[in-house]
């Protein structure tokens, strides 16, 4: 039990953060894409995320919450080291959240201002999250090379969110916005690939621990399917965009798969560390008694959360149109 509890919580944390990136990814993407849309399209784009964005953001709170519950010491080390990007991300999230409601309820002459703030907040959030992820992969190292790597990951994040946002719009809206979203996705496809490739090459370079794991036999063999599948998903994404349009959810599914593979690869590379090279899961774990107390609650609550989340996505499923905001 003492061995498995921290592992279970690490899995819950990874799941929450993965779900967060996919779900909040598409609504952050909406902010990044907003400047390229007409006024009418802006309304449709924001209506498409209206019922979801609040709950989407809650997955981040769960992920960070599990880090706090299960690995309190790591929570302190990671967030203290990431003080600046965390603060920037929080400022971005606040700006984006308030803009969403103020633009609907405020006076018409301020709508443009709130649109800009929504975009600025989303951009700031995406960049800061990339920075945090980059710094985390390097084991919170402060070297120049690590900083360069963090900047690279910071720039990849908006590309991913743009793709997710455009894929969401293609699934949820009708032409002409649907066609426009397809065009946006086509523009973002190549940069996304370049960023993923560069980040994959750079990861073992900045992190010797990860390098050792990747290129070590038999680890190499276990890990090999991850980049191969990711490449396949990426190519299929390109085929759907440039060759033959498939099912309306194809792109979103492929992007979710890409995120899942990246998370899986990352998790495998980091394990058993929770702060790379500093602290393992088991060293950082909270007392077993505390973990057990939360585990029971998690076993009951998490299926409920997943259940009603699915219910809401079904309720507001299908093409946009019937929804009425008040």
């Amino acid at each position: 039990m003492d061995f498995w509890l921290p592992v279970v919580f690490a899995a819950v944390m990874a799941l929450a953060l993965l779900v967060y990136v996919i779900l909040d990814g598409y609504d952050l993407g909406m902010g990044l894409l907003l400047p390229f849309a007409t006024d009418d399209e802006k309304e449709q784009m924001l209506a498409s995320i209206g019922p979801f964005w609040d709950a989407n953001e809650t997955w981040l709170v769960l992920g960070i919450g599990v880090l706090l519950i299960a690995f309190p010491e790591a929570h302190g080390i990671v967030l203290t080291a990431l003080y600046l990007p965390v603060t920037l991300m929080l400022l971005g999230l606040v700006l984006r959240g308030i803009a969403f409601d103020f633009r609907i309820k405020g006076t018409a002459d301020h709508k443009q201002l709130w649109n800009h703030i929504f975009t600025a907040g989303s951009t700031l959030t995406a960049l800061a999250q990339g920075w945090m992820l980059g710094a985390y992969i390097t084991g919170l190292s402060q070297s120049g090379l690590s900083l360069l790597f963090s900047i690279l990951v910071a720039l990849s994040m908006p590309a991913l969110y743009v793709m997710l946002g455009a894929a969401w719009l293609q699934a949820k809206t009708a032409a002409p916005l649907r066609h426009k979203a397809r065009a946006w996705a086509s523009v973002a496809w190549l940069p996304l690939g370049v960023f993923f490739l560069l980040a994959s090459i750079a990861t073992p370079l900045v992190s010797p621990t990860i390098a050792a794991k990747w290129f070590d036999w038999p680890h190499f063999l276990y890990l090999a399917p991850v980049p191969l599948l990711a490449l396949a998903a990426y190519v299929m994404l390109g085929l759907d965009l440039f060759v033959k349009e498939g099912w309306r959810w194809t792109q979103f599914t492929l992007l979710a798969l890409l995120c899942l593979l990246s998370a899986g690869g990352l998790g495998y590379s980091l394990y058993p560390d929770v702060v790379l090279g500093q602290l393992t899961l088991h060293e950082a774990a909270a007392a077993s008694d505390s973990l057990l107390f939360v585990l029971w609650g998690t076993l009951v609550a998490l299926p409920c959360i997943i259940g009603y989340t699915l219910f809401v996505y079904r309720l507001f499923g299908g093409e946009l149109g019937a929804q009425h905001y008040e």
Binding site: G50, L60, V61, E73, L84, A286, D289, V312
Partner: protein
């Protein structure tokens, strides 16, 4: 101050973030129950006014809730960014309590809020009522867990400390620690009372500006009834809470009273400038025996003074916050009685003067709530976990400049949000009542009904 103290800056930043955050849950915890009441009244009576009341106030709720959520996300990161020592030391206790808040509340309220706001035309009335009830339940559950954690920091119980690390011994004792029942009821009632004055205040504003409809009057009366019941109840709960504090945190009470030395038959100080350097009050105006009467319910009862405690909180800020809270609370009681007398006993619409008062008092609950939280949180200092673990032990080692810069950024952002929040509410409230927009019928407004 020649050199900025990083501990003070970190405390100021936390205080700024949490003080700003609490404004919004304070309204939404109460308002979602009020909205559920409006919807239920509509369902039971079929009276369209209740539906119009809901349609108007759900906008206020959505805006308030959204600001509460995004400023709350900030809070979940603050422990790690600024107070890592707290987690290393007491993570075994704080983690599960915060974890249960996320698991049992955050998803529930955020998910069903989407259904409540966007799903009204996709689901049955009954399902919509259930969704609204789940949102209301979610916000209250959230208050339950976070107040349990805060109360545990004030009156820690149910744990053992081994090698400086906290371990839970009895979760029941941790969750239902000695001050929790009082703090929880005090806060929930505070939230509903704040709502009552917001309901009355914004409705008054609409009466005075002649943009009211029949629903506005129903809302005003709902607020009036709530205020009439809750204002006295809150004072009663506050008294019990104070007595609980006297038992478990006597140094906090001594600071609230500005009592430097232990006294039998201690006076209540109405006004004073507490002076830490001379350890005495300047310009004190006192009511003899009153503090002993309030706290021990006996005129000659002993109240322990600050001289008995090696560590005690800063006196002036606790002393004055307490007076602001009590003063505003009493003012709310007077206005509640006045409104109740006019509306329920004389059964008349309120006078213009009374409406001006209730309009001025719109945000009075906020002032009392902030002042109350300052009493209890500054009153906990210098401890983070009362009598066991110092705030100074938990703080992260950030350069003062970094903390100062981010603090300023937060303050600018908060000023900006508050400005637009009030402005937007005014804008929503200034639109003519929805029920009258497409009707030829003339509604004279409540003010014209007074002869």
């Amino acid at each position: 101050m020649s050199e900025l103290d990083p501990l003070l800056l970190a405390r100021l930043q936390f205080a700024a973030n949490i003080s700003f955050h609490i404004l919004f849950p304070t309204i939404s915890i109460g308002l979602c129950w009020v909205l559920l009441y409006f919807r239920t009244r509509f369902t039971l009576t079929g009276d369209q006014d209740w539906e119009h009341a809901y349609t108007f106030w759900v906008k206020v709720f959505a805006l308030t809730f959204a600001i509460g959520v995004v400023t709350g996300v900030t809070m979940s990161f603050q422990f790690g960014t600024n107070w890592p020592g707290f987690l290393t030391t007491a993570g075994n206790i704080t983690g599960p309590l915060l974890g249960y808040e996320v698991l049992t509340s955050f998803f529930l309220e955020a998910t069903f809020l989407g259904v409540m706001l966007f799903g009204k035309h996709l689901i049955s009335n009954r399902m919509h009522l259930i969704a609204s009830a789940l949102v209301a339940l979610g916000t209250t559950i959230s208050a339950f867990w976070i107040l349990s954690l805060d109360s545990w920091m004030q009156t820690p119980a149910g744990h053992v400390i081994r090698d400086g690390i906290y371990y839970a011994d009895s979760w029941w004792a941790v969750i239902f620690n000695p001050s929790f029942p009082y703090r929880f009821s005090h806060m929930v009632v505070a939230s509903l009372l704040t709502c009552a004055f917001v309901l009355m205040g914004i409705s008054s504003w609409r009466f005075l500006n002649r943009v009211d409809g029949p629903a506005t009057w129903k809302v005003f009366k709902t607020g009036a009834a709530l205020a009439l019941v809750l204002a006295p109840l809150q004072i009663f709960i506050g008294d019990l809470h104070g007595i609980n504090t006297l038992e478990y945190q006597p140094a906090k009470v001594a600071a609230m009273e500005g009592l430097w030395k232990t006294e039998n038959g201690a006076p209540f100080t109405l006004f004073a400038l507490p002076d830490e350097s001379t350890r005495s009050n300047r310009f004190a105006i006192e009511i003899p025996y009153a503090a002993s009467l309030i706290l021990t319910h006996s005129a000659s009862g002993t109240v322990r003074g600050l001289d008995e405690f090696a560590e005690h909180p800063p006196v002036s800020s606790v002393f004055w916050s307490f007076r602001v809270m009590v003063g505003v609370g009493l003012l709310m009681l007077i206005v509640a009685l006045w409104v109740g007398w006019t509306v329920f006993l004389r059964k008349k619409p309120p006078s213009e003067l009374l409406l001006r008062c209730t309009a001025w008092m719109t945000w009075s609950g906020w002032v009392a709530v902030i002042a109350g939280w300052w009493v209890t949180e500054i009153g906990r200092q210098p401890w983070l976990i009362y009598d066991e673990y110092l705030t100074a032990q938990a703080v992260a080692d950030h350069p003062a400049g970094t903390v100062l810069t981010t603090l300023l950024a937060w303050l600018v952002l908060y000023g900006f949000i508050l400005f637009f929040y009030i402005r937007t509410l005014k804008y929503i409230a200034s639109k003519p009542a929805a029920s009258l927009q497409n009707s030829a019928q003339h509604y004279p407004g409540i003010l014209s009904k007074r002869n």
